[in-house]
Symmetry: C2
Subunit: 495 residues, 2 copies
């Protein structure tokens, strides 16, 4: 009889572009989300958790024009005997689900509806280094009011949030612009909807990189870029390009100065004037609450990619330098963005519902704090009660129960106890502050050995016992004093 | 020219079997998850967050034997130009991903590895009332040790967790059984692998419902059930069925008594004796730590559906009664379950890796606390600063800023301020404790009006002002005293 072919073993790997998060990584993100939620909550925003799965129809942006609508999203067809099931997809952001939720539940929700949401979103994109297909977003939006006070509030809340999670004032800037002002500029230039407008917008978005002279070239005949390649220009005359340049360079020393410059840039455009009036309202409200240009400023170079913004747009940038992969200094850049989008709910209801909001890229913000050394310390592990005598397991369990009841994180070593060295290696891998040791001698005498692993590590580092004379790295104490002695060491090493 | 056909509007609905969670629902679940995580952490378990998406190959249980492997899971094929992409799926539990994570990262992880995980899982099942296709699980597992101390620890931790989230001792019971004992019973009966064994196991699982006499009938010729339908029996003789009955009814008044009865039930079976020895070890360890049968007991009727358990199995049951949809009393039942599964990691590595763990059904546990009235109070909303004079928005914003800085949740009304009644209706919908009111008279005099909405609601309820004489429902105070006066009302209504 032929030998039965063996099934190959499955590969133990995450799908491409996905990753796992362990211990301190999970704790640190959770801590940050808790801090952000507390600020949002204090501002009157209510939590919303929508399902991870939406109908492709409701998500909208990626409507299927082919059999498999998986461009940009992870999508699948519901099983149906006639192969006629609905297409479903994982949400790619938290804004599209909010629009669906508001349209669905608007009669039960307060108006305006302030809501926050935090959780993973999924993008079916090509993964790259540090670029994952599942990542966290943390959004706050106000639906149902056209008042600029809602936009000002979002900006103030964003500034408060950044400071709360540990970005000090001076290390960030919330920049505010208005789509209507840009539309006013394009109107003055005579650039209507279409490819020319797209090309101009793409050029404006490059201002940060190529500067005023670069934008001039790109709006005109074109430009030789750093790599030596020639980039075709939009083909505008110098005169036509002038309003764009005036707009991009309109940032003054104060909000008033910036607004005056913008007025000149939009000329007679009604929509431009409307945008400037909105920026002025936001600036006035923020100034009255004490949010000066050290925290929030009007900056006409903010564009924000998403097509659905209809008025104010926001961006939070971290202004400190970090080192890139090659050790060169660079600005950390954007960690949050948002703006006003008055048409998303209308898709469902036919009625315009004004809305504005912000999305924080939590993983980027965590990376920033780690880059600044403000996070990413090794988490302190549990106290490890070692096992010298297997028949005493119940006694060791009683020790950890006592420690836990005193609020101390603790565990019994549950691996093979034969090799005591492995138990201490385990405690080291767990980053344990203390090991508790008791064999039959100790049990008979009513004692335990306490091994101070924090001190042990320090001694190993400085390779001398001299300076630690006062504090023994292992000592015996009465069993009854175990909890108190362990606590002393943990508290001493917290300093 | 023919009128262009309009695109129909998308429907604003969640996909079938999914739902949204609002405000207090999200907060209450988060609070419970935080409480559970704190207990798990104190026991030395580390957080793990694996990706929501896994390869179908790694998930294993639902390997594709057809083109579309979506039986039970939500799955899709990665796009690939040759239509040859990997199948991916949403995780259906947190255990299968743990096995994959441990196999993938085992060289970097401590052994034993204690980990906890909490988050949504997805099941592609027919939705029903109260039965959703996305729900939360909250797991703790110890991988890499065969010691029964790991199983005992999981049971003790489960009892601690239930008490921590608000289920008092006496209202729950952790029941422990062992697959090996059941296998021993089947061995004694001469029932091998196959359909007969499956039928016997299914019958054992019905013991809770049909009792001893019912099981006797179902193991024999069959049984007329309550609806009048005849259920075919397994077809065993009375003599053959006896060991099952002895096993199911072996629960004694104490663990010792139960173990003695079980010994009789498994007779000469070696695997049965092994299972009993394991139960005995668990019972001894728990007794030494003070976990008596009022919290954790050996109960031979616990089966647990999943086929992958290889030793001890656990179930946490809430023992109090609730009312079903028709107002009849019934026991609340199971809220958590788990057991030892020694073969899941082996699928990947070829080497046996013992593991044991527990999964808490968080949504069911929340439902239990709500049924007992221990949760589900309406969340307190923010203080609402109303808008009497639109030109004073900056002043209203300053008021909420002051309140927030004092730690009080507060917001400005941002709807259309024309109809003041709507502002109070909004505050009511938000469950606000206080409304702050200031028009030009108040601004001129440096005053604000404070409206106590909690008291207002109480007066409306009892329809008399008499008993509330001491506490006016609306009063004027100096603008400088606003924060203190608001705080007084919030603190008084907390009582």
């Amino acid at each position: 009889m032929a030998k039965q072919k063996k099934q190959p073993r499955p590969k133990a790997i995450t799908p491409k572009g996905f990753r796992d998060y362990f211990g301190a990584e999970v704790d640190e993100r959770k801590h940050m989300l808790d801090q952000i939620a507390a600020v949002y909550h204090r501002y009157g925003f209510d939590a919303l958790e929508s399902s991870a799965v939406e109908t492709v129809e409701a998500l909208g942006k990626f409507l299927p024009d082919v059999d498999r609508p998986n461009e940009g999203v992870f999508a699948w067809q519901e099983f149906d005997e006639k192969d006629n099931g609905d297409w479903m997809a994982l949400r790619y952001d938290l804004t599209a689900p909010l629009a669906r939720v508001y349209a669905q539940h608007r009669n039960d929700l307060p108006t305006p509806y302030r809501r926050y949401a935090m959780g993973p979103v999924w993008r079916n994109e090509k993964p790259g280094p540090g670029r994952f297909r599942q990542f966290y977003q943390c959004d706050a939006d106000t639906v149902g009011t056209a008042s600029m006070a809602a936009d000002a509030e979002i900006c103030a809340m964003l500034a408060d949030t950044l400071e709360t999670v540990g970005i000090p004032r001076g290390d960030y800037l919330v920049r505010v612009n208005n789509r209507k002002v840009m539309n006013g500029v394009l109107e003055v230039m005579g650039v209507g909807e279409g490819p020319e407008r797209e090309a101009v917008l793409r050029t404006i978005d490059k201002f940060d990189k190529v500067g005023e002279a670069g934008v001039r070239e790109l709006l005109g005949k074109g430009r030789l870029d750093a790599s030596g390649a020639y980039i075709d220009g939009v083909g505008l005359s110098d005169e036509q390009a002038e309003p764009v340049i005036a707009f991009l360079t309109s940032k003054g020393a104060t909000a008033d100065e910036t607004l005056t410059n913008l007025r000149a840039a939009v000329g007679e455009s009604a929509v431009g004037a409307e945008g400037i009036a909105e920026l002025e309202q936001i600036a006035d409200l923020l100034a009255a609450q004490g949010y000066g240009p050290d925290r929030i400023e009007i900056d006409p170079s903010v564009v924000r990619g998403l097509g659905y913004y209809t008025g104010p747009v926001f961006e939070a940038e971290l202004t400190f330098e970090i080192q890139d992969e090659k050790g060169r200094p660079r600005q950390f850049g954007s960690v949050a963005g948002g703006g006003r989008y008055d048409d998303l709910v209308k898709r469902f209801t036919g009625q315009a519902v004004p809305a504005t909001g912000i999305s924080i890229g939590v993983d980027r913000l965590l990376a920033a704090l780690r880059a600044k050394g403000r996070m990413g310390g090794k988490a302190v592990g549990p106290v490890v009660v070692t096992v010298m005598d297997k028949s005493r397991l119940a006694d060791y369990q009683s020790m950890v129960t006592e420690l836990r009841q005193a609020g101390i994180r603790a565990e019994v070593y549950l691996g093979n106890p034969k090799n005591f060295g492995n138990q201490l290696k385990y405690a080291d891998k767990r980053n344990s502050p203390v090991a508790v040791i008791a064999g039959s001698d100790e049990f008979d005498a009513g004692k335990v050995q306490i091994k101070d692993l924090v001190l042990g590590a320090k001694i190993a580092e400085s390779a001398t016992l001299e300076e630690w004379k006062e504090r023994p790295s292992q000592f015996e104490c009465d069993r009854a004093d175990m909890v108190a002695k362990v606590r002393e060491i943990i508290e001493a090493s917290d300093d």
